[in-house]
Symmetry: C2
Subunit: 214 residues, 2 copies
C-alpha cells in the first residue's frame, strides 16, 4: 500500500523485485508515477498486480481489514515536483489511509502539509493515528545546516509551534503516534525539551519494531 | 563508482540522498541512464558531482589509488533493455574496474557474459579479481522454480561448466573471489558439491564484511 510516490515510499519496492507475488495498492496518480518510471518495471507485471484505489471508496485488505484512502494536503514527489510545486494541494498524489478491523480504527498519515477539518473529523473517533512528525521546527534543517528547505517547503507541517501537530491534533484520537521523523528532529533524543513537550501533550514517538494493539 | 546502471548497482544511491557531498564516477552511458531517470535527481547536483570516465583512461581516486575502467561483455540494465537486448555486447553500459595502489592490483568485475582475451590478459598479473558469481549453473533459476531466465539471458556467465568462470579464470590472478552471488547459487552453502568445486579450483566465496589485504 503506497500513500504516495515519494522516494521514501517507493525505493523499497526495488528490493522486492525477486518475483515474489504481491499486490500494490495506491491511487491512480501514485501508480502512474511508478508506471512512468522504467526502473519500477523490475516489479514484473505478471507477478506484481497493481490495483488503483479511489479515495473515499472502501476496499478490503487481507485479514478482514476494511481500508479507505483519503486526500491529505501535500505535494508531488520531490523528483516530479517541477519548478513551482503546490505545497499543500489536496490531490491523489498524497493520501492517508484509514484501517478498520474488529471495531478498531487506525489512521496513517505519514505526510501532511496541514490538518484539514475533514481529517480532524476523521481522527476524532480513531483509536490511533500515526502522524507526520518530520520536523519539530519548520526551519530546523536550515538551523542545523543539514538542508536548505523548510518543512513546509517539503510539504510537512511542523510538530511544534502554534500551527504544529501537537496543537492541531490535541484531543483527537485515543493514541497519537509520531512517525516519519527526520534525523534532525530533537524529539528523537530522549529527555530533550521537544521530546518532553511531545510526551506532555500525550503523543508517542514511534520506534523501529513498534507493535500497536488496539 | 558505478560499473553499470542496473538496479542492484544504483538503487542504493536513493539512500544517499541526504545532501552528503560525494562524487559519482561512471561511464557516460551509466551516468546518462541516471540522468534520464527523474528519481535520481534526488541526488542534488549541487552536492553530488557526476564525473564521466572513459574506459581505458586512467584516473585518480582518493587514497593514491589509480583506477581504470574497461569494457566487459554484458547487457543494458533490465529496465532499459528493450525487446531484443544484446546479451554480450561490449559497450560502456557494463564495465569492470582495475584499482592500483602501492604496487598492488585489484580487478572488480561484478557482471560478465564472457571472459574476453583482453580481460584474461588484464587478470593474468592481478593480485586479486572479484568476479561475477551470479549462478553456478546457467539454468539454475529455472530448475529451482525461482525464475524464468537463464544466467546468460541476464548477461552472466555461469560459475561451473565448460564455459564457466572456474575454467575461464583458471590460473589467472593470485586471488580469485566470487561476488554478486544469487540466492539460488549452491556455492553459498558450505560443504555443497559446488562449493567444494569452487574451493578445489582455488576460488573464494565473498561474504559480507570481507576485508581483502594485498
Amino acid at each position: 500500500m503506497l500513500t504516495g510516490a515519494e522516494v521514501d515510499q517507493t525505493a523499497g519496492l526495488l528490493t522486492l523485485r525477486e518475483r515474489g507475488a504481491f499486490t500494490l495498492f495506491g491511487t491512480e496518480a501514485t501508480l502512474s508515477a511508478l508506471a512512468d518510471n522504467p526502473i519500477f518495471s523490475v516489479l514484473s507485471a505478471d507477478v506484481v498486480m497493481r490495483k488503483a484505489i479511489r479515495p473515499g471508496v472502501c476496499f478490503a485488505l487481507p485479514g478482514a481489514i476494511e481500508a479507505e484512502l483519503f486526500l491529505v494536503p501535500g505535494k508531488a514527489p520531490l523528483y516530479l515536483e517541477g519548478d513551482n510545486p503546490d505545497l499543500a494541494a489536496e490531490t491523489e498524489a498524497n493520501v492517508g489511509i484509514e484501517l478498520r478491523a474488529a471495531g478498531a480504527r487506525l489512521v496513517f498519515i505519514p505526510g501532511a502539509a496541514k490538518l484539514t477539518k475533514s481529517i480532524a473529523e476523521r481522527l476524532r473517533e480513531a483509536d490511533a493515528v500515526l502522524f507526520d512528525g518530520t520536523l519539530f521546527d519548520d526551519d530546523e534543517m536550515l538551523a542545523a545546516g543539514t538542508g536548505v528547505k523548510t518543512g513546509r517547503r517539503m510539504g510537512h507541517m511542523p510538530v511544534g509551534g502554534p500551527d504544529g501537530a501537537l496543537t492541531a491534533l490535541a484531543g483527537l484520537a485515543r493514541r497519537r503516534i509520531l512517525i516519519h521523523i527526520n534525523n534532525t528532529n530533537p524529539i528523537l533524543i530522549e529527555g530533550s525539551p521537544q521530546r518532553r513537550a511531545v510526551e506532555a501533550a500525550g503523543f508517542e514517538v514511534a520506534e523501529d519494531g513498534m507493535r500497536i494493539e488496539l
